[in-house]
Each structure stands twice: as structure tokens, then as C-alpha cells.
Amino acid sequence: MKAKWIRGTTGAATALLGLLLLTFMIGRVMPLDPVLAIVGPDADRATYEQVYQQLGLDRPLWAQFGRYLGDLAQGDLGRSLLTGLPVTQDLARVLPATLELATLAILLGALLGVPLGVWAASHHKRWPDHVARVLGLLGHSTPIFWFGMMGLLVFYAWLGWAGGIGRIGLGFEGAIPRVTGLMLVDTLLAGDTAAFRSALRHLLLPACVLGLHSMAYLSRMTRSFMLAQLSQEYITTARVKGLSRRQVVWGHAFLNIRVQLLTILALAYGGLLEGAVLVETVFGWPGFGSYLTGSLLLGDMNAVMGSVLVIGLLFVALNLTADALYRVFDPRARS
């Protein structure tokens, strides 16, 4: 057990180091100039070179990377060139926003997508199956950006149900003390029910849009897993024994796809955490995806490296969690 834990930790650390090295090298060969972003287009040569040196860009690549790792070992991810703040502080600000959005989205996606997939599989080639497949196809192939805009148009602009842009109404901005960074939690902790309702109204629509995308993916995968199980002989046996359809589907077939579902749920959740940038852009959501993309486009490599490290850690954590849950759901994994 101890050896397995050591192997796992070593493997994760090696993967993270490789990820950082790769990101660092890509960042340095990309035709992006962080100095230009800082000094502006009209700065003269002396100013440009002064900032170039201040950023340490005149040093050899290995020295730059070594220094980064040295600082990282002390918990210092450096300072973002573009926000002027420590990257850890930036990440602590943007990550909870995405965490809140992605968590609700994956919950919505799983709660709708998994039953839909099961329903489709248990009515294979009948109208529920066709409906689920069309929904899955639409949800997966329609650009999420378009869904976001249409959602805003209908639920915000026409019906006035959704809260609109940002995480909370502009009138509440700055009025809620930041404790966890999760707006729903912070508004509750502040005891401000009006702010909580505003935060919820702002969260629901982007979460539904993201969740719809996840729902499509999860329903298609669930359907496929279920179809494979429903064609097994033990299912025929169960039916012959007189079990109800519900017992067969949920009590036998579904139990056997839980491990596969866990894997795709973990991957889908990880994808939402790092890749919600389009929804964040449409909804003015100040999250992790926007932060990473903006930093990348302007060559802010401290921010990019810090973000990539967080993504790596998130995936490692999700994989470890999924591994742990395998043991709960699959007796074979326990041995």
C-alpha cells in the first residue's frame, strides 16, 4: 500500500514537472512579448530593455526555469505581469468563481444526462431513444457560445428571469465580504438574502448552459455504457427471473456502469474547470478560463504557469478521487 502511494505521488510529481517544463518552453517560443504589453507600443528602446531585464528575460532559459522552480518550492508562483498581483492571489480570486460555476454545471449535467442516457438505452430504437439522441447531438454539436447568447436573449433580455452578466448584481458589488470566494456561500455567510438571490439568478443561466453541454456528453456516454450492459446474459437472466424493468435497469445494469461513469464524470468536471472560457466570456464571468486565456494571449507566463500547475493538480486530485471511489463501487478494485 505504501509503495503504491509512493509510486502514485512520484508519478503525479513527474507529470506536473513535465507539464511545467513543456508550458515554459512553449511560452518562450511563442511570438508573444510580455514587455510590449507592459511598456506599451510607444516606449523607447531604453525603457523596453530596462523592463526586459527586470523580468529576467535576458537570462538563459534554463536559468529562468530553474529560478521559477526555486520560487515554486517556496510556494511563490511569481507575480502576474498583467495584474501586478501575486499569481497565487489571482488564482485564489478566479478559481472559486469557476469552481462554483463548474460544480453546479456538472451537477445539472449529471442529474439530467445520466437518467436521460439510461432512459434512452432502456428504450433502445424507440422514440425516447431518438429524442435523447437528438438532444445529445444538439447539445454536443451546437456551439456553447451560441447557447449562451440565446440563453441571455431569452431568459435575461426577454423574460427577465436570469440575472445577466457577472456573478452578482452590480448594486451588490463590493458589498459582500469575501470569505470563501464562492458567491452563494459568501452571501449566505453575510446573511444577505437579497444578495444570495441575485447571485443565484446570475449563476443559474451560465451553469445551465454549461450543464447542457455536459448533459449531452454524459447522456450519450451513459446510453452507450447501458446498451453494452443491457445486452449481457445476466440481464436476460434477471428478466427471465421476473424482475421488473426498473429493477433490471437500475438495480443491475446501472450498478455495473458506475465505474465507467465516474471516469467520464471526473474528466467532464476537469474539462469544465479549465475550459469554460467561452461561457465565461459571454456571461462576463471572472473565472479561471478567462484568466488563463487572457494571460496566454499577452504572454504573461507566470500566470500561465501557475494556471497550468493548478489544472494539473486538479486533474491529479480528480483522478485520485475517482480511484478512491472505484474501490467503493467495484469490489474487484478493493483486492
Binding site: 501586478g84 428571469w161 452578466i165 441575485s198 471572472p286
Partner: protein, 540 residues
């Protein structure tokens, strides 16, 4: 099919959910707050010595005051601000500014001429983005203490190290962020490793403006509150909330819903749609910045003046681009000096003429045209201009590929002089002065690669004309206004005769959409739109 009883949520639970999620009243824009939506992508620092670009200018002018201001309606007119009067003496080499008595910073500390001098010294010592203009006037860290000094608490003296037009320097004091007076004691209290408070001022403000910075979350939100101790009449708004928003259609929806008061950086179709709504007003402010097409005169393809003439004078559909691509982004302008200045000239008679272009190319030994690339920032209106240019170049036999990229990539290639054709925007400067425009766009005192004068577009495009440089330099030092105007006009005529590597096509328009309830909002040509006079007409 699932039986209804298997659903964990019953139908009767739904109204409660709706009530929690959607029951709240719409948070409408309050009367004492201004809600602004704009991109803050380029707002990287609030430090007046380091900040660059319009985003920073738009925000920082509300935290800081400058010694002088320029009139929003006539950008050539200086107005008092912290300084109540100013004088030019010693043959234009000395500027004396008298500050108002009783000025205070937001911190409550008195604001004196010593703070104004220190603020300028700080710009030079830090040598960041805002130092360039002062270095161009001959100031260095070595001569700053003697050349910029407080003679008494209310008198600031600037001795110009080299001959220049004193009006230009006064314009810089009035329009550049480098002219903002910072609270020395507040800044030095946060100094780290001799940075003169640069790291702290990046995300904080220490000025004497009508508003104080309440909170800034980069690329998310900036809030400012009315300063308690403003030296003029207090701002009419209690609070201003600026939200980072980059998606034009989202801005449009929020304006239409009444959840925003002011929106900037919107796409032309969205502005056009909103212009039809009676509760909204579209305001366009002319900036000195130009949209241009530039070629690299160092590239073998464009060293021949006939090729440049063919491309820049006959293969750009100026009228078509202005009317089809640039509404709400820019207005047709084919000279570097914008209209409204004494030296401005009428538009030249450049016209789209593929036949003339083909003749010129044939004379240059290129009867079959050539292949080339157009670098362009991948956003409107640049891509529209580039697409139009690609089509019109094709009519002259030039086969161009478009290379879209970020601003960093596109202008980076220009700074390295590794481009062929670029569609860009720049130049002009904040000062409404012909020198500012000509210097930014066509002046190039040293065309060698080793000179690396990448702050001049003239150098970036690899075009140098000694006579043109002489005219620009001579005009700057000519004290007589009429003679100076004549020289600037000669410089522009020289540009007509010769073909520089950069061709302005439009003067930039900064388009804002406002709710009609917003009053007193006057967009400033320099970008420094102060909100102290803005108020909202009550909806109740």
C-alpha cells in the same frame, strides 16, 4: 419510461425553486451610481508613471488631477486645473505654473508644487511607459532635479533642457498620465526595494481626483467612490462601477435592459441597433489615433517608391472602407495631422485606381504583381479593413494572404521590422499638436536597424526622409505660430509628393453608448473622460 414517483422533485416544489432563483426584483441601475461596461483587458496598471492606453486613461483621470487640462470640445485649448495660471518665459525655455492654494489629496495631505515636481521626477526615475515623452524633451534623471523644481509651495518651474515648443510641453502636462500629481508621502510609505511605490500604485491610487479607488479586481471589476475631500465641488455621483466586459452583444443586452449606463468598445452592428432606441444615445469622440495601412520600406518588395505608391495610394479603397467598414470606428482621414488643428490640410486626392496601380507596378518591373502578407489584429474593424485591402490589392495583381494575430504578435513584428504589410492603429499622441501626430507616424531620425527607435512608427516602417525630418524639427522650434503652421503644412505636402511607408486611412472614433438618463458625460479626445460632472436623471 420512469414512473412519476421515482422523481425526487415533485411538481409542487418547483414554485419554491423559482421564487428562490428568479423572485428577486431586477437590480436596476441606482440613480447615484454609474454602471459602466467596457473591456479592461489593457488596464494593466493604475500607476501614472507606468500606465498606457485608453483603458487606463479613462479610469485614472478620476483618481488623479493634472496641473492643466484641455478643453473637451476644443483640444487645442488649455484650461487651468491644479495650476490656476501658467507663463512661458526665457524665449520659450521656461514654464512657470502657479498652483491654487488649499489643494489637498484624497488622503487629506496638502498638495503642493513639491509633489508636482516629485511626480515628474518619479516618472523619469522609473523610466517606464510614460517616461518616453519627457525624455524626448531632453529630460534625464540627471537634469530632472534642476530642470523641474518647486520654487515655493505654489510655484512649479520647468526649465526645458533643449529647445522645443513650450505649448507641446504644456499639452503633455495636460493630457498625459505622466502629468498626474501623486501623493508622495502615501506612495513612499509603500516603497519596496527602491521602486518608488510602483508595485503598490499598480493596484492602488494616491491622487487628488474627484473619486477614490474603492476596489480593483483586474479584468473583473473596478469601483470608485466619491472623494470626501475633493478640492473642487464634490462629484455628483456617489459611486462608479466599471465592469470588465468584452462581448459586444452582452453589452448590448445589458444596455437594453437598463442594467448598464455606459458601454464602450461595442461592435458597429450592435451600436447601429442601439442607436435606434430612444432611451439610448450614441456618442462619438474623435481621437488623434489613426487607422493605417503600412508597408515595410526595408523589405525588398517595398523599397521602390512606385510600388509603395501603387499599394498605398491606388490600391486602397479609402471611400469604400470608410463607408463600409469604419462607421462607429473611424472617419476618413488620409493625412497624419487630424482636422481641427491650424496646420490641418484638406484631404488629398488619393483614389482607388487599379489601372494606375498596375501601370506603376509594371514600371517597377512587376507586371504580374507579387505575393505578400497582411498582418492584422484579429478583431473588428481591422479584419474588415484587411479583407477589403486583400480584395483591392488583387485587382492590382497583388496576391496577399492575411495573417491574423493578437496585438502583441502583430505590432511585435512591426517593432522588429519583419512584416510586409500591416493594418494597424496608432500614432497621434494625446497632445492636439501637429508635432505629436507627425512625430508618431512619419518622423524617423535614424533608420538604421541598430538605432531601434521602435517608439516611432516611421522607424518601424523603415522609411526615412531627411527633408521631412528637418521640416518637422524646424517647425517645432519656430516660435511664430503662422510660420510654424506653414512649416507643418509643408511637411504634409512633402508627404504627398513622396510616398512614406505608412498611409492613414481614418481617424479613430471612440464610440460610447449611454442611457439618456446619464447627463454631463463628455467624452474627452485624450481619453481622460472625467466623471465629476456626471449625474443621472432620476427614474422616480
Amino acid at each position: 419510461m420512469f414512473p412519476a414517483s421515482s422523481w425526487p422533485l415533485r411538481r409542487r416544489h418547483l414554485p419554491a425553486l423559482f421564487a428562490a432563483g428568479w423572485g428577486a426584483a431586477q437590480a436596476d441601475s441606482p440613480d447615484d451610481q454609474l454602471l459602466v461596461g467596457m473591456s479592461m483587458n489593457n488596464l494593466l496598471s493604475l500607476d501614472p508613471a507606468a500606465a498606457t492606453g485608453l483603458d487606463a486613461a479613462t479610469v485614472a483621470c478620476n483618481f488623479y488631477d493634472s496641473l492643466l487640462e484641455v478643453d473637451a470640445a476644443d483640444a487645442t485649448q488649455l484650461r487651468p486645473s491644479l495650476a490656476e495660471s501658467w507663463a512661458v518665459s526665457d524665449g520659450g525655455r521656461r514654464l512657470t505654473l502657479k498652483l491654487r492654494p488649499g489643494l489637498v489629496f484624497a488622503s487629506g495631505r496638502p498638495l503642493t508644487a513639491a509633489h508636482a515636481a516629485w511626480s515628474l521626477h518619479r516618472v523619469l526615475k522609473l523610466n517606464l511607459a510614460q517616461a518616453s515623452v519627457w525624455k524626448s524633451y531632453g529630460y534625464t534623471t540627471a537634469n530632472a532635479a534642476a530642470g523641474i523644481r518647486a520654487e515655493d509651495p505654489l510655484t512649479l518651474v520647468l526649465d526645458l533642457p533643449q529647445p522645443t515648443d513650450p505649448v507641446l510641453v504644456l499639452m503633455t502636462l495636460a493630457t498625459s498620465m505622466s502629468g498626474y500629481v501623486v501623493d508622495r508621502d502615501a506612495v513612499l510609505a509603500h516603497e519596496v526595494k527602491g521602486d518608488l511605490g510602483n508595485a503598490w500604485l499598480t493596484t492602488h491610487a494616491a491622487g487628488s481626483g474627484a473619486f477614490e479607488l474603492e476596489e480593483w479586481r483586474p479584468k473583473e471589476l473596478l469601483t470608485m467612490r466619491r472623494a470626501a475631500r475633493y478640492w473642487q465641488a464634490p462629484a455628483k455621483l456617489r459611486r462608479v462601477v466599471v465592469r470588465h466586459m468584452t462581448e459586444s452583444q452582452t453589452l448590448r443586452l445589458m444596455l437594453a435592459r437598463g442594467d448598464l449606463d455606459v458601454a464602450g468598445g461595442m461592435s458597429a452592428p450592435d451600436v447601429r441597433a442601439l442607436a435606434r432606441r430612444p432611451e439610448l444615445v450614441v456618442e462619438e469622440v474623435r481621437r488623434a489615433t489613426m487607422y493605417y495601412v503600412a508597408v515595410n520600406a526595408r523589405h525588398p518588395r517595398f523599397t521602390d517608391e512606385r510600388v509603395r505608391r501603387a499599394v498605398l495610394r491606388h490600391l486602397i479603397d479609402f471611400q469604400g472602407v470608410a463607408s463600409g467598414v469604419l462607421p462607429f470606428y473611424g472617419e476618413l482621414q488620409m493625412r497624419p495631422v487630424p482636422p481641427g488643428l491650424p496646420a490641418s490640410l484638406p484631404q488629398p486626392a488619393y483614389s482607388f485606381d487599379p489601372a494606375a496601380a498596375r501601370r506603376l507596378l509594371a514600371e517597377a518591373g512587376l507586371p504580374n504583381g507579387f505575393d505578400t502578407t497582411i498582418r492584422v489584429v484579429a478583431e473588428a474593424p481591422f479584419t474588415g479593413i484587411a479583407t477589403s485591402l486583400q480584395a483591392t490589392l488583387a485587382q492590382g495583381g497583388i496576391r496577399a494572404s492575411i495573417l491574423p494575430g493578437t496585438g502583441n504578435q502583430v505590432y511585435g513584428a512591426m517593432r522588429e521590422r519583419t512584416f510586409e504589410i500591416i493594418v494597424g492603429r496608432g500614432g497621434g499622441g494625446a497632445e492636439a499638436h501637429p508635432h505629436s501626430s507627425l512625430r508618431a507616424l512619419v518622423y524617423n531620425p535614424d533608420n538604421r536597424d541598430s538605432a531601434r527607435l521602435s517608439n516611432f512608427q516611421g522607424w518601424r516602417t523603415g522609411y526615412a526622409d531627411a527633408e521631412l525630418n528637418r521640416l518637422i524639427e524646424q517647425a517645432l522650434l519656430t516660435p511664430d505660430a503662422a510660420a510654424q503652421t506653414a512649416l507643418y503644412q509643408q511637411a504634409q505636402q512633402r508627404l504627398d509628393e513622396r510616398v512614406p511607408a505608412i498611409q492613414p486611412i481614418a481617424q479613430m472614433l471612440d464610440t460610447q453608448v449611454l442611457r439618456r438618463a446619464v447627463q454631463g458625460y463628455v467624452g474627452h479626445p485624450s481619453g481622460a473622460t472625467r466623471l465629476r460632472e456626471v449625474y443621472k436623471v432620476s427614474k422616480r
